[in-house]
């Protein structure tokens, strides 16, 4: 018995969510008194790989075959299941990222494993029971879910487990997999990444704005505040529906769910469907000219007033704070 963690990379780089899953898997392996191995697929430099040791991985299986340079969930699932068999791993941990969502269910079927996606805490293991806390009802609740099968797959929500530096170095070994050709039916034509932007699901700080901003021409001040903070930008649904902002910025029940450390909501009323995607943010700041806006009820800090007046002042204050170091 052991734990296997899949370490996802983007263009050869590991993201914070990868360090989170390794930290989580290391803590889990420790609780279960077993070892942790990691599997990486694609083009990651050896230094980056061995650095994963810091977070508790002792061994890293590295798959570098040309065919597997880009993500194809069918093929990646086969490789990870093969690695799980090699390591006699009963538990596979990965990030509940966009790719993770396509991958985890396929791994679970291959291993005949119960799958928890959207996990937010370490499993409670006692009396032979294995219970994982995960989000449900679009952030309105948590469901403590037992996995009853012998094998288990856990997809951890980004930003819900702290990165911990517990270990030392990891040994990297090459892993040759025998993926069948029929696993490569999907072909990636193009990957478009807005490189200058902080990706929303990974962001620790988010500045978001709604219909209170009146029009797309007023987003400059939101971007300025986000830049000053080093934050990602988001928006409410009517804003993306109207084409003021791209769809991928839309958060909420029908958009994406995020749980950053800081969520600043400007000119957003706080409808229940919006809150569904942001209510698990650690700290919420609301700026709204209407003192009765429902958003204030779930905020930590609130300012009643005109966004057009407050946001630029806030940007200046952030810049001044950053300048002090």
């Amino acid at each position: 018995m052991s734990v296997l963690v899949y370490v996802e990379n983007a263009d050869g780089q590991f993201k914070k969510s990868t360090f989170e899953v390794v930290s989580y898997a290391a803590a889990l392996a420790k609780t279960l008194n077993t070892s942790l191995a990691a599997i990486s697929i694609g083009n990651v430099a050896d230094v980056a790989l061995s650095e994963l040791g810091k977070y508790g991985a002792t061994k890293i299986l590295n798959v570098t075959s040309d065919k597997l340079k880009t993500f194809v969930n069918q093929a990646y699932a086969s490789v990870i299941a093969e690695a799980a068999a090699k390591e006699s791993a009963d538990i596979v941990v990965l990030s509940n990222s966009f790719s993770g969502k396509g991958l985890a269910p396929r791994i679970a079927v291959k291993l005949q494993a119960g799958l928890i996606s959207g996990a937010v805490a370490l499993p409670e293991v006692s009396d032979g029971k294995f219970i994982v806390k995960r989000t449900a009802f679009s952030g309105k609740a948590f469901a403590f879910t037992e996995i009853t099968s012998a094998k288990k797959v856990i997809a951890l929500n980004p930003n819900s487990y702290k990165v911990e530096e517990t270990g030392a170095t990891a040994a990297v070994e090459n892993f040759e997999s025998s993926v069948k050709d029929s696993d490569f039916k999907s072909v990636i034509k193009e990957i478009v990444r807005a490189t200058d932007k902080i990706s929303l699901p990974d962001a620790e700080l988010v500045v978001s704005a709604g219909r209170g901003l009146k029009g797309p021409e007023n987003w400059k001040m939101i971007e300025d505040l986000a830049d000053a903070l080093g934050a990602a930008t988001a928006c409410s649904k009517p804003v993306s529906d109207a084409g003021w902002r791209p769809h991928e910025e839309h958060v909420g029940q029908t958009g994406i769910a995020i749980s950053p450390n800081l969520y600043i909501a400007v000119g957003i009323s706080g409808a229940i469907q919006h809150l569904a995607g942001v209510s698990s943010s650690k700290t919420i700041v609301v700026i709204n000219k209407d003192p009765e806006a429902p958003f204030f009820k779930v905020a930590d800090y609130g300012i009643v007033g005109d966004a057009f007046d407050i946001v630029p002042k806030l940007t200046e204050a952030v810049k001044a704070y950053k300048a002090q170091g």
Binding site: V109, A136, S138
Partner: protein, 245 residues
């Protein structure tokens, strides 16, 4: 082109979520159930792709008799026929196995789902169907076009998108952008009453996960209200009190 759309029946988006029996049961009393919003998107795209006699749209739903109004609604929107697997959906593994068992010998070109059901938000069923049927799956798509036996899909990734070319048959989960949900018209509602709705019994599959109990998020402390001249103070509080910057 034959398309199968998987639909789930979920609490309305405005529902206040509560639990009974010492937080072990979801309290369905007074809750309005609806067609999962993302499944509406999948259904709308299926209808667009088959319009003008270019194919058929079938529905599958795993649920008990009480969910039939949701199936009728989807038929009213424009699906041709439906099958209900008469069972309480236990977990994604159970649901995906039912769908795969049904679809296995029906040669659907496309199986479409929503990106997630808004009750358990698993995003699990889709890729499980793909694996069970050994066909490609693409999760969380923003665009879908089909040309003969080849589909072009756009998938969401962190900070961008990926464009894929995938041969049919395939299964994909639809998010915003794939299509605009359609509202049933009077003719649709009338004809939905007589469209075929077949009921079949589930195949025997054990669930691999079970919810033990629920918890609602801890309420936040009282909001600290500041003046509109307090920008510096807010920054200071975010640093020293909230410790987020």
């Amino acid at each position: 082109m034959k398309i199968l759309v998987c639909i789930s029946n979920v609490p309305d988006t405005t529902t206040k979520i509560t639990f009974t029996d010492n937080n072990t049961q979801f309290n369905a009393a007074g809750v309005q159930f609806i067609l999962n919003p993302y499944d509406e998107i999948a259904l709308a795209r299926a209808i667009e792709l088959t319009e003008g006699g270019k194919g058929t749209v079938s529905l599958i739903h795993i649920g008990e008799l009480s969910t039939e109004p949701t199936i009728r609604k989807a038929l009213a929107i424009g699906a041709d026929d439906a099958v209900r697997v008469n069972a309480q959906p236990k977990d994604a593994w159970f649901v995906a196995n039912q769908i795969a068992a049904y679809a296995k010998d029906k040669s659907f070109d496309l199986i479409l789902t929503g990106r997630e059901s808004i009750d358990y938000n698993g995003s699990q069923v889709t890729a499980m169907i793909g694996e069970l049927l050994d066909i490609p799956s693409v999760s969380i798509i923003k665009k879908l076009d089909v040309d003969g036996s080849n589909a072009t899909l756009e998938r969401e990734i962190e900070g961008g998108k990926e464009i894929l070319s995938v041969p049919t048959p395939l299964v994909a989960s639809c998010a915003e952008g794939v299509a605009e949900p359609k509202i049933p018209n009077m003719r649709g509602i009338m004809s939905a009453r007589t469209k075929p709705l077949q009921v079949i019994e589930p195949t025997a599959v054990d669930a691999l996960t079970v919810v033990k109990n629920y918890e609602t998020p801890a309420p936040r402390g009282a909001v600290k209200m500041l003046q509109d001249t307090d920008a510096e103070k807010l920054v200071e509080l975010l640093h020293s009190e909230a410790r987020v910057i």
